[in-house]
C-alpha cells in the first residue's frame, strides 16, 4: 500500500529523506550565506557593495594601509599569544591539581574554576573594568605593557577552558606508567616531564588553540578593559561597523575569517579529526 514510500530508505536513515535534506540545506544556507556574501563583496569593486562590479583587491590594500586597523590587529595577536602562553601553564597546572589530589574544599575550587566559563560576558567585563579602575592600573605604559589589563582579563577567561580540555585528556591516563617511572628512580619532576606531559600534549595543544581563538574573538570583555591606546581588532571593527557598512570592513572581517579557518584547520589536523569524532 505504501506507494509513496521509497523502499530503499531504511527507517532510521533520516538523513536520506528529502525533507530532512531540505531542512539541512536551508539551515546551512542560513548559517553560511551571510558570511559568503561578506567575503565575496570584500572583492567587489564598488562602494555600494551590493551590485557586482568586478574583482578587486583594493579594499585589502586599504586595510593594510589603515594604520589604526593594523595596529589593532597587532595588539590582538600579541594579546592572544600572551594569553595562550599563560593559559597553557595555569590551565595545565589546574588540571593536574584537580585530577591528582584530594584536598579540602576541592568541590569549591572546581566550581569556581568553571565560573569564568559560565558567567555572562557582560558581568565579567564590568568586573574587570571596576577592578582595574579601583587599582588605578596605569594606562600610559609603553607597548606591550599597556596591553597588560586586557591580557590579564583574557587569561582569566581562557585558562579554565584549557584546564577543562587537559583534564578530559588526563582521565585516560594510566597512573601505573607514572608509578613505574618513579619506581625506576625518576624524580617527581622527571616523571612529570617525561611521562605525564607527553600524555597531556594533545590536550594542551587543543586547549592552546581554543584559548587563542577565544582571545582573538573576544569583544565584550575587551570592550570594557581597553583604553584609547589599546584598541584590539574586534573593538576597532566594532567602531567601524557602528559607523557604516563599507567594503573595507568586509575586507577586514574576511581577513579574520580566513585566520579562523586556518587555525581551525590546524587544530583539526593536529587532533586527527575524522578519527577522533567518528
Amino acid at each position: 500500500m505504501n506507494l509513496f514510500k521509497r523502499a530503499e530508505i531504511a527507517p532510521l536513515e533520516y538523513t536520506r529523506r528529502l525533507w530532512m535534506r531540505a531542512w539541512i540545506a536551508a539551515t546551512l544556507f542560513f548559517l553560511y550565506a551571510p558570511l559568503l556574501v561578506l567575503i565575496a563583496f570584500s572583492f567587489n569593486d564598488s562602494k555600494r557593495n551590493i551590485v557586482w562590479r568586478g574583482f578587486t583587491f583594493k579594499y585589502y590594500g586599504k586595510v593594510l594601509e589603515n594604520d589604526g586597523l593594523m595596529a589593532a590587529l597587532g595588539n590582538s595577536l600579541t594579546i592572544a599569544f600572551l594569553a595562550t602562553v599563560f593559559s597553557i601553564i595555569l590551565g595545565t597546572l589546574a588540571a593536574v591539581m584537580l585530577w591528582r589530589f584530594r584536598f579540602p574544599g576541592k568541590t569549591a575550587v572546581e566550581g569556581t574554576m568553571a565560573l569564568p566559563i559560565v558567567v555572562p560576558e557582560i558581568c565579567m567585563g564590568v568586573a574587570m573594568l571596576v577592578f582595574f579602575a579601583k587599582l588605578d592600573w596605569p594606562t600610559d605604559l609603553p607597548w606591550p605593557l599597556n596591553l597588560s589589563a586586557i591580557t590579564i582579563a583574557h587569561i582569566t577567561f581562557c585558562f579554565p577552558f584549557v584546564a577543562m580540555v587537559v583534564r578530559a585528556r588526563l582521565a585516560g591516563f594510566n597512573k601505573e606508567q607514572e608509578e613505574a617511572a618513579k619506581d625506576l628512580g625518576a624524580t617527581e619532576w622527571q616523571a612529570f616531564r617525561d611521562v605525564l606531559l607527553p600524555h597531556m600534549k594533545p590536550g594542551i595543544i587543543a586547549g592552546a588553540l581554543l584559548a587563542f581563538t577565544l582571545s582573538l574573538d573576544d569583544f565584550v570583555i575587551t570592550f570594557f578593559t581597553s583604553g584609547p591606546n589599546t584598541i584590539t581588532f574586534p573593538v576597532k571593527v566594532y567602531s567601524m561597523v557602528r559607523f557604516s557598512v563599507t567594503p573595507e570592513v568586509n575586507a577586514a572581517s574576511a581577513i579574520l575569517i580566513f585566520l579562523t579557518i586556518l587555525l581551525t584547520t590546524v587544530a583539526l589536523k593536529l587532533q586527527d579529526f575524522t578519527k577522533a569524532t567518528a
Partner: protein
C-alpha cells in the same frame, strides 16, 4: 588520587599559581562589583559602600522589570527557535553515515568559531534596506507585479523595503544565528547515546515517525534537550552585541542597560546591582541543571 597532606610540597607547587590567579583576577573583581552594588555615588568617581539596598530596589522599578522580562522573553523565544531548527539537524547528524558525521558537525561548528562581531556584521549586511534579502524580495515583488500586468490586472504598488533591521525581529534572528551551534551539539551528544533498537521497536510496533519522536526519542533525550536549552538560554539572556548592533531603541536587553550604567550614565552601583541580578539568574539555571544531572547519575 593522592591526599594533599602526603605530598604537601608538590601540591603547593602545582596549586598555588592557578588558585592565586583565580582569586586575584576573578574572585576579587567580582567581589568589588558585589560590594559596589550596595553602595552609592558620592562625587564623580567616589563610591561609598553604605550597605544600602536602594540599587536593588531601583532594579525592581517597572521600567527595569520590563527590560528584565523582555530579555527573558527574547532569550526564551531564541532558545525555542534554536530547538525547533536544531533538533532535526542533530537527528540527521546522528543517523548519518559515520564518514559524513564529523563533516556535518564541522559544518555546524565552523560559524561558531568565527568571530561573533563578524557574524553579526555579516547578518547586518544582508538584512539592511539595500541588502540582499530586501533586494531579492523586491525583485520577486516586481516579478509578481509585471505578471499581474501581463494577465491584465492592475500592477502592485511599488515595493517598500521591509524593515528587517533595528527591531525586535532582527535581535531574535541575530541571536538564533549566533546560538544555533550551542543547541545542536548537546542535542547531538544526547541522541548519539540513544539505544537505536528502542526507536526501531517503536517503528516496528506501528508507531509513525512523529509519534516515535515525541514519545520515545524526546523523553529519552530529555537530559540532552534540557542541557541544550540551558546552554543556549544563558548566553542569549546576557547577550550584549546583538541587541546593541541589530536592535532598535525598544529592543534593549539587560546587558545593554548594564553597559550604559558603566560607560555612559556612570552609575556604577546601579550597574553593579543589575549585573549581579543577571549573574544570580544565570547561577540558578546552571545549579538546577547540575542538580538534575547529579540525581540522574545517582538513579542510573
Amino acid at each position: 588520587m593522592q591526599d594533599w597532606k602526603q605530598h604537601k610540597a608538590t601540591f603547593a607547587s602545582i596549586a598555588v599559581s592557578p588558585v592565586l590567579w583565580l582569586v586575584a583576577f576573578f574572585i576579587v573583581p567580582l567581589a568589588v562589583v558585589w560590594l559596589y552594588s550596595f553602595g552609592r555615588n558620592v562625587g564623580l568617581t567616589e563610591i561609598d559602600i553604605s550597605g544600602t539596598f536602594s540599587n536593588y530596589g531601583r532594579a525592581l522599578e517597572p521600567l527595569y522589570l520590563e527590560i528584565f522580562g523582555k530579555s527573558v522573553a527574547v532569550a526564551a523565544l531564541t532558545t525555542l527557535i534554536c530547538l525547533i531548527i536544531g533538533f532535526p539537524i542533530a537527528l540527521a547528524i546522528t543517523f548519518a553515515q559515520p564518514k559524513w558525521r564529523p563533516w556535518m558537525l564541522l559544518a555546524i561548528m565552523l560559524p561558531f568559531w568565527t568571530n561573533l562581531l563578524i557574524r553579526t556584521y555579516a547578518l547586518i549586511t544582508v538584512l539592511r534596506t539595500e541588502g540582499y534579502v530586501n533586494k531579492s524580495l523586491g525583485w520577486f515583488w516586481e516579478g509578481a507585479s509585471s505578471l499581474k500586468v501581463m494577465v491584465g490586472m492592475a500592477p502592485l504598488s511599488t515595493w517598500e523595503p521591509l524593515p528587517l533591521l533595528y527591531n525586535n525581529f532582527a535581535v531574535i534572528l541575530g541571536l538564533v544565528y549566533v546560538h544555533l551551534p550551542f543547541m545542536v551539539l548537546p542535542l547531538y551528544a544526547a541522541l548519539d547515546r540513544l539505544d537505536r533498537s528502542l526507536i526501531e521497536a517503536s517503528l516496528d510496533l506501528g508507531a509513525g515517525h512523529f509519534r516515535t519522536l515525541t514519545q520515545i526519542v524526546a523523553p529519552l533525550a530529555a537530559p540532552g534537550i534540557i542541557s541544550g536549552v540551558i546552554i543556549t538560554f544563558v548566553p542569549a539572556l546576557g547577550a550584549y552585541l546583538t541587541p546593541d548592533l541589530m536592535g532598535g531603541p525598544d529592543s534593549q536587553m539587560i546587558a545593554n542597560v548594564i553597559e550604559r550604567q558603566f560607560k555612559r550614565a556612570n552609575d556604577w552601583p546601579f550597574g553593579a546591582a543589575l549585573s549581579f541580578l543577571l549573574m544570580y539568574a544565570t547561577f540558578i539555571l546552571i545549579a538546577l541543571q547540575t542538580l538534575r544531572n547529579r540525581s540522574a547519575e545517582r538513579r542510573s
